[in-house]
C-alpha cells in the first residue's frame, strides 16, 4: 500500500453488528485493524444497533423498515459500509432492497446504500485487493462457510485465500462446510432441539478433520458451534476469521474459553 498516503483514504463505516458489540468486541477491533492496515479510514457511527434481521425473519416488516431507515441514515456519507458478518452484510446488501421493493420512490436510495455494503473479508480481497495479511497462527484450522455470506454474497474463496497467507496456519477443508450449523438467528430459540442436532453434526464433522481450530465469519454461528463444542468437551478452539487475519488471536481467548489473565 505504498501509495495509500498520497490517495485520499477510503472512508469506511464499520457496522459492528449487535452480537460483536455485545459478546466479542475483539472481532470489531480486528476488523478495524484489517481495514486500517489496508489504508481505510474507519469510523463507527454511534446510532447503530442491529441490522433488523430478527424482526425481518419474524415477519415484522414495519419494525424492520424502521430499523433499516435508522441504519441507512446513520451510515450516510461513507464510501463503504463493512460488517464482520456475512449475515448482517447480506441483510444490508441484498435484503434491504427487497424490503423496500414496495416503495419505488425510496428504492433507488436504498439500492445506492446497499451496493456500498460489504462483508469484511470479501471487502478486503474484492474491493481493496488485499492478497495477503501479516499474521501468524500456530495451528491447523478448518473453515465453516456461514450460509448468508456464502449464498447471498458469494464469500467462499476469499477467507481461504487470506488464511493461506497466515504464517504457521495450515488449512484443512471441512466436509459439508456449506451446510448450516443450526444457528439461524431466532431458529435456535424456536427449535432448539433441531438446532442442536445440526450443531452436533457440524462439530462432529469439524472434529473429524483433525483440525485444532474452527473458524467462521459470523459470530452467531461461532457462538452456536463453540457452545456445542465446549458442552461436548471437545478441545477445538473456535474463533472469528478476522481475529486470526488481524493477528489478534494472542489478545483474546477462543470463543467460550476462560479469559486469560494478562
Amino acid at each position: 500500500m505504498s501509495d495509500s498516503a498520497s490517495r485520499p483514504a477510503i472512508r469506511v463505516g464499520l457496522f459492528v453488528t449487535c452480537l460483536v458489540d455485545l459478546f466479542r468486541p475483539s472481532i470489531g477491533f480486528a476488523a478495524v485493524k484489517l481495514l486500517e492496515d489496508a489504508g481505510c479510514r474507519v469510523e463507527v457511527p454511534d446510532a447503530q444497533t442491529c441490522c433488523g434481521q430478527p424482526a425481518y425473519n419474524s415477519g415484522d416488516k414495519a419494525d424492520t423498515k424502521a430499523i433499516a431507515r435508522q441504519v441507512m441514515s446513520a451510515f450516510t456519507g461513507f464510501d463503504y459500509i463493512v460488517a464482520p458478518s456475512g449475515s448482517c452484510a447480506g441483510m444490508l446488501r441484498t435484503h434491504y432492497p427487497e424490503l423496500f421493493a414496495d416503495e419505488p420512490d425510496f428504492l433507488p436510495e436504498v439500492e445506492q446504500f446497499a451496493e456500498r455494503c460489504y462483508e469484511l473479508v470479501s471487502f478486503l480481497t474484492d474491493v481493496l485487493k488485499v492478497e495477503r495479511v501479516a499474521a501468524r497462527y500456530n495451528g491447523v484450522a478448518t473453515y465453516h462457510d456461514s450460509c448468508s455470506g456464502l449464498r447471498e454474497l458469494g464469500v467462499r474463496a476469499q477467507p481461504r485465500q487470506l488464511l493461506r497467507s497466515v504464517v504457521g496456519l495450515s488449512l484443512k477443508e471441512l466436509p459439508g462446510a456449506d451446510v448450516c450449523c443450526g444457528f439461524g438467528g431466532t431458529f435456535c430459540i424456536k427449535y432448539p432441539d433441531i438446532s442442536e442436532r445440526m450443531a452436533s453434526d457440524k462439530i462432529a464433522d469439524a472434529a473429524a478433520t483433525g483440525a485444532d481450530t474452527l473458524l467462521a465469519g459470523d459470530l452467531g454461528c461461532l457462538l452456536n458451534m463453540a457452545g456445542k463444542a465446549s458442552r461436548q468437551g471437545r478441545p477445538i478452539r473456535v474463533r472469528h476469521v478476522a481475529e486470526v487475519l488481524a493477528d489478534m488471536s494472542g489478545d483474546v481467548s477462543p470463543i467460550g474459553a476462560p479469559a486469560e489473565r494478562r
Binding site: 459492528v16 419494525d63 427487497e98 456449506d178 443450526g182 439461524g184 433441531i194 442442536e196 465446549s230 458442552r231
Partner: protein
C-alpha cells in the same frame, strides 16, 4: 389425511429420538446431495438450463388458462376426457365416479402426490374399491398404513430391516423361513406379488410429471416401470394431477426432464419416461380403452399473481428436501402433511391454511441451500418469509414471542437506551462468566443452554470500548 403440521415441534422432537429414522436420514444426507453434485458437474450447461426451465414455467403461469384449455381440447380430440376439480372433494368424486362406471374392484396406482393430497386411497376403500400401490416405496408404506415422507422416495424414512419385518407380517402366504434380508430379495418378493395384481386391476391411476398442451399428452418418469404396467394393463387409465403441471410443448418437456432427474437422484435420466396420449387407437396393440385426466386446483390458482406464485414452478424433484438440514434432521413426517421439506413449507400453508401450517415456514434457518439447488430457481426462503409476514399480520405467533420481539425492536430503535441496556448486560454476563468463559445454564435461555453452552461476553461492549479509544486519541 389428518394434518399434524401445527404439531411440527412435537413431531420433530419424536423424530430426533427415532434411531431408525436417523439412520435412514443419514443415508439421504450422504447420497442424494453428492449424486446431484456429480451429475451437475458432468453438465456444463446446467445453470443455463435452470434459467430456461424457470422461464418456461414462468411463461406457462402467465398464460395458464390458455394452455389448460388447449390441453383439454387436445385430450378430447384424442378421445380422452378432462375433469376439473376445484378442491380435493371434487377430485375424489370424479375418480370414484370413473371407477364405478368401470365397475372397478381393484385399482392399481403409480406414484402420485396428488393422490396423497386428496386422500384417494381412503376414499376408494370406503366405497369398496381396493387401491393397490405399485411403486415399491408406496407399496411398503401402504402395507404399513403410513404416508410418504419424501416426494420422490416415499419410504426413505425406513431402513431395510423394517421393510423385511413389514413384508413378513403382510405376506403370510409365503414361507416364513425364506431369506429376506437383502434389498434384491425384498424387491423380488414385491415384484412377484404385484405382477398378478397389475393383470387383474380394472383401473390404473397414475400421476403426471408434465402435461403437454401441444399434444394433449401426460408424462410420467419412474425408475421401476410400474407406471407403464399400471396404465397399459388396465382398461381404464386415470391421470390424477394438478393444473400447474402443464407445459407448452414436448421440446419444453425435454428441457425440464434434463433438469429433473439430475436434481432428484443425480441420474442423467429416469429409467422410464412414459408419454401417454389418449386411449388406445384403432390398430394400437396396447393401451387403455378409456383415458381420463383429473385436474386438481385446490388453492393453486389463488397463488397466481401473489408473492407465492413462484412455487407453482416446482417440478417435484425433491432436491430441496435432500439439501435441507432441517429435513435431514427430522424427516418428512414431522411436517405433518403431504408435502415436507422447503417446498412443503411454502406450499402447505396455502393448501391447508396458515393456522394449521404456519409453523412450517418458521422451521427454517434460511440457510438458502434449497434455493441454491432448486432447478426452477424458486426463492424458497423468501416465500417462507412472506408466510411469516402473514402470520405476524394475523397475530398467530405465540404472544410471548411477539412481546419479546416488540420489546427488542423498541430497544433497537432507540440507540442511547440500547447502549445503556447492552452495556449493563455485557458487564453482568461478562463478569459472571469470566472464570469459565461460558455458561452451562442461563435464565431465559434454556432452549440454548439445555444442549450447548453459552459463551460469555468479554465484558464491555464494542461501542463503549470504541468511545474510550476515541477519547484516548482525541
Amino acid at each position: 389425511m389428518q394434518a399434524t403440521s401445527h404439531a411440527f415441534k412435537e413431531n420433530a422432537h419424536r423424530a430426533l429420538g427415532d434411531r431408525n429414522l436417523q439412520t435412514a436420514l443419514g443415508i439421504v444426507k450422504r447420497n442424494f446431495a453428492g449424486q446431484r453434485t456429480a451429475a451437475v458437474a458432468r453438465m456444463p450447461e446446467f445453470e443455463r438450463l435452470r434459467d430456461e426451465g424457470r422461464d418456461i414455467k414462468n411463461h406457462v403461469l402467465q398464460h395458464l388458462d390458455l394452455y389448460l384449455e388447449a390441453f383439454e381440447q387436445k385430450v378430447v380430440g384424442l378421445g380422452g376426457k378432462v375433469y376439473w376439480a376445484a378442491d380435493a372433494a371434487e377430485a375424489r368424486d370424479h375418480v370414484l365416479a370413473i371407477c364405478r362406471a368401470a365397475g372397478a374392484k381393484t385399482v392399481t396406482k403409480g406414484k402420485s402426490m396428488i393422490a396423497e393430497e386428496i386422500g384417494i386411497n381412503d376414499h376408494l376403500e370406503q366405497h369398496g374399491i381396493a387401491p393397490i400401490e405399485t411403486d415399491l416405496g408406496e407399496y411398503i408404506i401402504q402395507l404399513r398404513r403410513e404416508t410418504p415422507s419424501h416426494i420422490i422416495a416415499p419410504a426413505i424414512h425406513l431402513i431395510k430391516g423394517q421393510v423385511e419385518e413389514t413384508f413378513r407380517e403382510a405376506h403370510t402366504q409365503l414361507d416364513p423361513a425364506r431369506p429376506l434380508a437383502e434389498a434384491r430379495q425384498l424387491c423380488d418378493e414385491a415384484r412377484a406379488l404385484l405382477r398378478p395384481k397389475f393383470l387383474a386391476a380394472d383401473v390404473g391411476i397414475t400421476g403426471a410429471n408434465f402435461l403437454v398442451a401441444e399434444t394433449g399428452s401426460s408424462i410420467i418418469v419412474t425408475n421401476e416401470g410400474n407406471g407403464d404396467l399400471t396404465q397399459n394393463l388396465t382398461r381404464v387409465h386415470i391421470v390424477l394431477t394438478s393444473i400447474e403441471k402443464i407445459v407448452p410443448t414436448l421440446e419444453d418437456v425435454s428441457t425440464l426432464l434434463r433438469l429433473l432427474a439430475r436434481s432428484a437422484t443425480g441420474q442423467e435420466f429416469s429409467t422410464y419416461t412414459t408419454v401417454s396420449s389418449g386411449p388406445r387407437r384403432a390398430g394400437d396393440t396396447d393401451g387403455p380403452e378409456e383415458y381420463h385426466v383429473v385436474l386438481l386446483d385446490n388453492g393453486r390458482s389463488a397463488m397466481l399473481g401473489t408473492e407465492f406464485q413462484d412455487i407453482l414452478r416446482c417440478i417435484r424433484c425433491g432436491a430441496c428436501f435432500n439439501h435441507c438440514p432441517v429435513y435431514g434432521s427430522v424427516g418428512g413426517h414431522a411436517y405433518g402433511w403431504v408435502y415436507g421439506g422447503p417446498m412443503g413449507s411454502v406450499l402447505t400453508p396455502q393448501l391447508i391454511g396458515v393456522k394449521e401450517a404456519g409453523n412450517l415456514p418458521n422451521a427454517s434457518t434460511f440457510c438458502g441451500r434449497c434455493e441454491s439447488v432448486c432447478p426452477m430457481r424458486i426463492p424458497l426462503p423468501k416465500m417462507m418469509r412472506h408466510w411469516r409476514e402473514r402470520e405476524f399480520e394475523r397475530h398467530l405467533q405465540p404472544s410471548v414471542y411477539r412481546a419479546g420481539l416488540k420489546a427488542w425492536a423498541f430497544l433497537a430503535r432507540n440507540p442511547p437506551l440500547y447502549r445503556f441496556v447492552t452495556e449493563i448486560g455485557a458487564a453482568v454476563l461478562g463478569w459472571t462468566g469470566r472464570s469459565r468463559g461460558r455458561f452451562r445454564a442461563l435464565p431465559l435461555a434454556q432452549g440454548w443452554t439445555n444442549d450447548r453452552d453459552m459463551p460469555a461476553p468479554e465484558g464491555k461492549t464494542f461501542m463503549a470500548l470504541w468511545a474510550e479509544r476515541q477519547k484516548r486519541r482525541a
